[in-house]
Each structure stands twice: as C-alpha cells, then as structure tokens.
C-alpha cells in the first residue's frame, strides 16, 4: 500500500506571530519555520504503517517556496521514501492546495492520504476534506486511531461529544489529531541518508490548476489586547473581587 503525506512549512509553534505595522499581513521575516505539527503526526503515522508491514511506500509532498524543501528533507529523514516539491512563491488557499494535491493523487495513486487536520498558521482545517471530495474518497478527519484491515480503514475521530469511529473504503483520506501518535525525532545518520533520497520538483503552474485567488486578504490586525489584572492575596480576596468588582458570581 502506498501512502501520500502532504506536509506544510509553517511558523514554528513556539513562536508568537506578529502583525506587520502596515497591517498587510503577519511578519514572517527571520521567523523560525518548521513542519506543521499535525503534518509531523501524519508522517509518523505513515512510517508506523510501513513498520507494521501495512504500507510499502511513503511519499511526502509539499506545496510552497524553495525553502519548503527543508521540511521535505525532514520527512525523508523520518522515513519517507521519496518527496515531491510543488514549487510556488504564491500564497495559495486550501482549495488550490487540494486541487494541486489531487493531481499528485492522480499521478501517484496512493491508497491512503494522511494530512494534518489543520495548519497552525491559516487555522483553515479544510485541505484534507477538500482533497477527499475532489478525489471522490471517503474521509476520516481528526483521527486519534487509524486501523487498516480488509480493504478498509477504521478511523477513530475526536469529535465534540467524545470519540466516533467510522469505516472508510480504500482508497481514503485521513486527517490527524494531536493524540494519534507521538512523532519521533530524526536521527543524525537518517538525516545524512535523507540527502540522497529522491526529491522531485514540479512547478505549480505546470499542473493545469487555476490558481486565481478566491479570497482577498483585506487587512490583518492585532487582536484586542488583554492586560494583566491584579494578583490577589488569598482565596477570600479572590471571591470578594469576583462578587463585588467583576460581578460574575
């Protein structure tokens, strides 16, 4: 079974994004970048399927500028067999990403595609669902458990009221939640080995997908700031303040 894992280069999750003074966007100059945490979980799950003998090949794919090859090399070091870089300097929307990924799905014919549930920059939570729709596949989003057996994949999903398990016919699309697994770190020898693994580069505009923007970014602002309040002495003072000052209890 072949597994395709789309990964995204994003701001490191420990870094607090800052808004540009002209309010045109978030300022990413000299900001530490990394693989989207949910994509790390997706890669880890794919590698575990290889280790379990369920999968035979893992292909990592990213859409983005040249620098995103860094994250592809990380995926290769973690155990992906090959990587595909769809190169573009444009800031694309989830619909575009899903359409480009659909082309790669057509080309690679993976039985399983595992994506992150959400990019921590756009916070969109769309691409996996869109890709599933465009490739006419069933979807198991927000997965905390993935079991492949008898031509199906059973996905346990983290939903608002608890956990829901669905069975999907293969081929299928899965998106990862935080508790699916704990990603490993790449070892130094594997990082060296990754440099020799195949990495194919494709120009985004060569795939015949209309990449015209559908959403205009009008402006980006800082959220309303919360200021630190006061430190109370003890429980008695806390309760007093909540009753008489804040009037919330």
């Amino acid at each position: 079974m072949k597994v395709l894992v789309p990964i995204k280069r994003v701001i490191d999750y420990n870094v607090k994004a800052r808004v540009k003074s002209d309010k045109s966007d978030v300022d990413l100059t000299n900001v530490k970048m990394a693989m989207n945490p949910f994509c790390e979980i997706a890669i880890e799950e794919a590698i575990r399927l290889i280790e379990a003998g369920t999968a035979s090949e893992v292909v990592a794919v990213t859409i983005g500028p040249k620098a995103s090859q860094e994250q592809l090399r990380t995926a290769l070091a973690l155990g992906a067999d090959k990587a595909i870089h769809i190169e573009t300097d444009e800031k694309l929307e989830s619909l575009h990403i899903a359409k480009l990924l659909a082309k790669i799905v057509e080309q690679e014919a993976p039985e399983l595609v595992i994506l992150g549930k959400q990019s921590i920059d756009s916070d969109n939570n769309q691409t996996g669902q869109m890709l599933a729709a465009l490739t006419k596949r069933g979807q198991g989003t927000f997965a905390s458990k993935v079991v492949v057996e008898n031509g199906k994949v059973n996905v346990t999903r983290e939903v608002d009221g608890g956990l829901q398990t669905v069975a999907l016919n293969l081929p299928a699309v899965v998106t990862t939640d935080l508790r699916l697994n704990e990603p490993r770190y790449a070892s130094l020898p594997n990082i060296m080995k990754a440099k020799r693994k195949p990495l194919e580069v494709i120009a985004a505009d060569s795939l015949g997908v209309d990449l015209t923007p559908r959403i205009q970014l009008v402006s980006v602002e800082e959220p309303a700031k919360r200021t630190a309040g006061i430190i109370v002495e003890d429980v008695a003072q806390l309760v007093e303040k909540l009753k008489t000052e804040a009037k919330v209890i």
Binding site: A132, A133, Q139, S144, E158, L163, V166, E221, I230
Partner: protein, 308 residues
C-alpha cells in the same frame, strides 16, 4: 440571495451553536433557511422554526443522517445549494468535517471560523492561533462559511416559520458509522457554559480533577482542560480548550495549574473575566488573567469551594 444554515444538534437536542450561527447568518443580510439533518428529529423543527430570523426550516429526517457523516451530509447540502448564495454552519467538529467538502464540490474557497460579519462578502477570522485577526473578502459568487459560535449572541424568538421535509436521501457508500463513545456529563457543555473551570498538568492526575467538581457544582460551571492534561490521560479529549480543541468565551474562566501556552490562550482569551491559579508567579497565564492567585492549587481549591 438567500442563506442556508445547517443546524448543529445531536438528534436528541438542538445545540446553542445553531442559534448563534443563525445570529451570524442574519448579519449577512439575506433571508435565512435552516436545514436540520439527522434521525428522529420531530421536536427540533419547531424549536428551530421559532428562532428569530428563520424564514424556512428544511428537515431531512432519515437514519442515513443519524451520524451526520461528511459524505452524505455533503450530498444533501449540494442538492439544496442552487437556491443559496451563502451556506453557513457552526465550526464544530461536525461543521468542520463536511463544509470543506461542500466547498470543494461547489468550487468555492471556504472561509473558516469567522468571528465577525463585516458585510455579505467580508468577514473577520482569527489566524495564527488568534495572534492575528484577518479581514477577508470572498471573491466567489457563492460563500461557504463556518462560524465560531462563541463570538456571536443567541438569537431571540419569533412566531414559528414554515417547516418543509426534504426527502432526498443520499448514502454515499464511501464511509460507514462503526461506533461512538460519548462522554457523559451532568454538567453544562463547555461551549455553552457561563462559567468554565479548567485544569492543566498541574492537577497531576485524573483523580485530582475531583477537586474542581465541588467548585463547578457551586458555580454551575463546565469543566475543561489543557492539552497536557488530556494527553496525560487525566480527562477525555473533548474537554480540551484551545487552538485545536474547543473555543470558549464564558463570563468567568478559571485556569488551574495551566501555564498559559499560546495554543491554550487561543481557546479562552475572549472570556469576560479570567482567573488564574498557579504556583509559578512567572506563568504566562497571569499576563491575561484579571485576577491571579499565586498558590498551590491543592491548598487553595478546597478553600475556594468552601468560600463560594
């Protein structure tokens, strides 16, 4: 121009997210129809029909929709989509699941988790874990939008709108329901509660969460948790508050043994009043707290319960 809102419910009861999402939809400026898709929905249609601003209620009552699987929900919404310029659902795990599928098949870019409606095409939404607020304008002729319910008010009531039943049934065959493990709780739901008390890694284990029970009882509060507490297995996943968990905005949020990571703040910093209890005076949670108590939680939680 007309708007279709897809109702949030669990077959048994309508969720407050529905009314808040209708509130957002009304702000888009067009008549609002509401689709309820599920199984055995009898009482719910009249409830939705009397939410202010609703023009028509469409009910798809069939066992196929019992679990609101994304594939069948998408086919159902697509079958109705021709009549609507705006298709809107709550950004719950259900809405997040099927709406992008609808958008892709309509060839429309979805706008996720809006927190404000500027006009019929323009919306505000948080990005980067809420560290920035983007104003975005949809250039598509049809809009597919999910709504962060905690940012909108409950709608008032009206005299009942018309209810129509929808007989289209689509069972996609791509997926099927296997099982559900529902978290049972007597407490109010996190996203609906006016008071939330959450525990973090500082609680040390699941048993200690009982220290929050008495306080929650007295305040009628829901109990939440940080990711660290959920990951460590102290409490179930649906209690997680944050960027990738539930977003809450109660009148009072009490964070106990929670450090205040960006991702946690993203889920609670719009609360009206924030209280933090933490033994580390430098914990970042104090930077957003209205009232901070630097103390050992094991000492002060029993005191707090007694003082209420």
């Amino acid at each position: 121009m007309k708007t279709l809102v897809i109702a949030e419910h669990d077959n048994g009861a309508l969720k407050p997210e529905t009314s808040k999402t209708i509130n957002a939809a009304v702000k888009m400026g067009f008549p609002v129809d509401v689709l309820i898709a599920g199984n055995s929905l009898s009482a719910m249609s009249s409830q939705v029909a009397s939410i202010d601003g609703v023009a028509n209620v469409l009910v798809a009552d069939n066992s196929v929709y019992e679990h609101q699987l994304a594939e069948s929900m998408t086919d159902l919404v697509l079958s109705l989509s021709d009549s609507y310029s705006h298709i809107v659902a709550s950004a719950t795990t259900t809405g997040k699941n099927f709406m992008p599928r609808v958008a892709a098949l309509l060839d429309v870019a979805q706008i996720s988790e809006i927190i404000a409606v500027v006009d019929a095409d323009t919306f505000k939404r948080p990005i980067y874990a809420g560290n920035a607020i983007a104003t975005v304008k949809s250039l598509d002729s049809k809009k597919v939008i999910t709504v962060r319910a905690s940012s909108f008010d409950l709608q008032g009531e009206q005299s009942a709108a018309a209810v129509t039943s929808i007989d289209t049934v689509s069972d996609s065959q791509l997926s099927s329901f296997v099982s559900v493990e529902q978290t049972e709780s007597e407490r109010p739901e996190l996203t609906a509660a006016t008071v939330v008390i959450s525990g973090g890694r500082g609680m040390q284990n699941g048993e200690n969460f009982a220290l929050l029970n008495g306080i929650a009882d007295k305040l009628g509060a829901a109990i939440g948790a940080s990711r660290a507490a959920v990951d460590a297995g102290f409490v179930p996943n649906d209690m997680q508050v944050g960027q990738t968990g539930k977003i809450v905005a109660p009148n009072l949020y009490i964070a106990v043994g929670i450090s205040g990571a960006i991702q946690h703040l993203a889920g609670m910093k719009d609360s009206k009043v924030i209280v933090a209890i933490n033994k580390d005076p430098d914990a970042p949670i104090f930077q957003v707290a209205d009232y901070g108590l630097v103390a050992d939680l094991f000492e002060v939680l029993p005191q707090l319960e007694n003082a209420l």
